[in-house]
């Protein structure tokens, strides 16, 4: 995967500044994220870890432009998300981000190829070779011979591979994986993680949310969350140093 639109390596591709997310449950306020600042660099493979309720999923939703923060700034490839409209956010998700979910979220009525093609259909710019690109991605995840299978006819690991192919088909800069191996056995987990490592080597930025340490071990950087804040970051010194530079 050669990203022509990749920003230069000296600026973070994802940047959070004092990011807070407060949910209201009845008359109670839940601080899911508490003034989090974080930079992720192009090509990094980051694992975000933490117990449930630590805020890792909330952060993932904010990075994925699926949710808006209560306060703070969220920058993706140099754009601040709070200034963007719903449609602009949709286009950002389509062009810059790729999602992989724990439950795969494939369309059960359509075969693997159609599932992979789906993001291309929502692309604003004209894409001429939809089929060729979808095939290429399915071959890359090792499912070149199962393109006409429906999700029901595929194993869990294969379904997740289809989902990864779908996430990659529009050549995103960032791949977001939310517990991608949560529904898979350990052998399949290893296969999927090796696929992600391989993608990371090709230059794509990967952010992975997991609560399993052995899954997080595949990543090049581990960030632990607790109570809505960063507890530890294996690349902490570099982040701190450069956070002054960006602001």
């Amino acid at each position: 995967m050669n990203m022509s639109s990749e920003p230069s390596a000296d600026r973070p591709i994802i940047s959070c500044r004092n990011l807070s997310k407060i949910y209201r449950m009845g008359d109670q306020e839940v601080h899911a994220l508490n003034r989090v600042s974080l930079d992720i660099w192009p090509g990094e493979f980051v694992a975000i870890m933490g117990p449930s309720g630590s805020g890792k999923s909330s952060l993932m939703n904010l990075i994925g432009a699926l949710d808006r923060p209560t306060s703070g700034e969220m920058w993706i490839k140099g754009s601040e998300l709070s200034a963007m409209s719903r449609d602009e956010l949709a286009d950002l998700r389509n062009e810059t981000l790729g999602f992989v979910f724990q439950q795969f979220n494939l369309l059960s009525r359509q075969d693997a190829l159609s599932n992979v093609k789906l993001p291309l259909r929502y692309a604003r710019r004209e894409i001429s070779d939809l089929d060729a690109r979808a095939r290429e991605c399915l071959e890359m995840v090792g499912l070149g011979n199962r393109m006409d299978h429906r999700p029901m006819q595929l194993s869990g690991g294969q379904q997740q591979r289809v989902a990864i192919a779908r996430a990659l088909v529009n050549r995103p800069s960032i791949l977001l994986a939310d517990e991608p191996t949560g529904a898979l056995d350990s052998r399949t987990t290893a296969e999927i993680m090796q696929l992600l490592v391989q993608l990371s080597r090709q230059g794509i930025t990967i952010v992975l949310v997991t609560h399993e340490a052995d899954v997080a071990a595949y990543a090049s950087r581990q960030i632990h969350f607790r109570d809505g804040d960063i507890e530890s970051d294996s690349a902490a010194p570099r982040t701190n140093m450069l956070s002054e530079q960006i602001s």
């Binding site: 719903r86 449609d87 389509n94 979220n105 009525r109 929502y122």
Partner: protein
């Protein structure tokens, strides 16, 4: 491209739940069928009325003598003083009259070698056939010369021919009408049973020269010489029928010496008017069907809206996923709108086939030509698709406005 994609996925969604789709379509099916039957009845009835008017002639007026009062009792139309051939000439001389004929009619028994038949005998002038829009199917009409001299020749209607000559070959044959021998010289082109719309068969007739019919078959009038029982005339194209009616009425008042203030002792009858009024009854029926159609489409639309709301709820997760991979609100809106429109259009197509059957049945009952024009098909399908658009919009907008993250978490 976008629309094609949306309709493919919409079609898949509809097929995956066939019974539900069919039940949802029911209201639309009935509505569209009603629209079709309604419009087809309207068109068919109008065509029938137009055909009837054309067969009579839309600018034909008929003068009948009025009833006379005898001992305080009206003796009915035709019992008054009859018109004369001089009246016919006076009317024919009016500038706006294209053609006029006096008519003398009566019942008579016609006897051929093969059978006998009671029929209506009409005596007419040379213009009789033109005025009544009659054409000949076999043989010839009587000539001016024959009309003037009162030759014993007749032209007979198709029904009379079939009764008198079951084996055909009527031309040149002699028949006896009330014992008077006459020669058949022509057969009239059939106008059909319902012709005048009065339940009478206008093809059951024998037409002969006026003077022959008066002198030899019907008989003269004791007080009025050269009488006719009614006068028919055609108003020239472009001339107002109502004012023609007024002017002829004035002429006849003068000729019959009716003092101002006194009532007419004759009446002018506009056949086309009567047919048109009869057609008005059809409009009432059409209105009723239109109401049925509107109510069915409304109920069908609400059904579609309901099922689309269910569908949106069921597929919330799918909507969330589509949004996560970059679908805009507008994409989702179009997807569900297309689904609703497709559902309704499909129902519309089924309704159209049922409506076609209904229109066919109505045409059989009403005895008018079956008429399903492109306008009808367009209107029926358009109505169905519009219902889909209108009632699909709210559910589709609801889907489009879902919050991506909440939609994704929905289960």
């Amino acid at each position: 491209m976008k629309l094609k994609v949306a309709s493919t996925s919409a079609l898949e969604a509809l097929i995956s739940n066939p019974l539900r789709s069919l039940l949802t379509m029911l209201g639309i099916i009935i509505g569209v069928a009603s629209v079709m039957v309604m419009m087809s009845i309207g068109e068919g009835a109008r065509a029938q009325i137009d055909a009837q008017i054309a067969s009579v002639g839309s600018n034909l007026l008929t003068l009948n003598p009025g009833g006379i009062q005898r001992g305080g009792r009206n003796q009915g139309g035709g019992s008054g003083r009859p018109f004369t051939e001089a009246d016919v000439t006076a009317i024919a001389d009016l500038p706006f009259v294209e053609a006029a004929t006096g008519v003398l009619s009566g019942q008579a028994t016609a006897v051929s070698e093969e059978g006998n038949w009671v029929t209506t005998v009409q005596g007419g002038g040379p213009d009789y056939f033109a005025v009544n829009n009659w054409t000949i199917s076999e043989g010839r009409l009587f000539t001016d010369q024959e009309a003037r001299s009162g030759s014993a020749v007749v032209v007979i209607g198709a029904s009379t021919v079939s009764n008198l000559f079951p084996n055909g070959n009527a031309i040149g044959q002699r028949i006896r009408i009330n014992s008077v021998p006459v020669e058949i010289i022509g057969i009239l082109e059939a106008k059909g049973q319902s012709g005048g719309g009065m339940g009478m068969d206008r093809d059951d007739t024998v037409v002969g020269p006026l003077s022959m019919v008066r002198n030899r078959i019907v008989g003269g009038n004791r007080w009025v010489s050269r009488h006719v029982s009614r006068i028919q005339f055609l108003v020239r194209d472009g001339y107002d029928i109502a004012s023609a009616q007024d002017e002829v009425a004035q002429l006849m008042r003068d000729r019959r010496k009716i003092a101002p203030g006194e009532a007419d002792n004759f009446s002018i009858f506009n056949f086309a008017d009567m047919i048109k009024q009869r057609g008005a009854a059809m409009n009432t029926m059409s209105m009723l069907l239109a109401f049925t159609a509107a109510v069915s489409l409304l109920v069908g639309g609400v059904g579609v809206m309901n099922i689309m709301l269910v569908s949106v709820t069921e597929r919330t997760r799918e909507i969330g996923l589509r949004m996560a991979i970059g679908a805009r609100g507008g994409d989702i809106l179009i997807q569900f709108l297309v689904e609703a429109v497709l559902l309704c259009t499909l129902g519309g197509l089924i309704g159209m086939s049922l409506g076609w059957l209904g229109a066919f049945g109505a045409a059989q009952v009403g005895k008018w030509p079956m008429s399903v024009s492109p306008v009808i098909i367009g209107t029926a399908l358009g109505a169905a698709a519009s219902v889909g658009l209108i009632f699909g919009f709210f559910p589709a907008r609801r889907a489009a406005q879902l919050d991506p993250i909440q939609a994704l978490r929905h289960d």
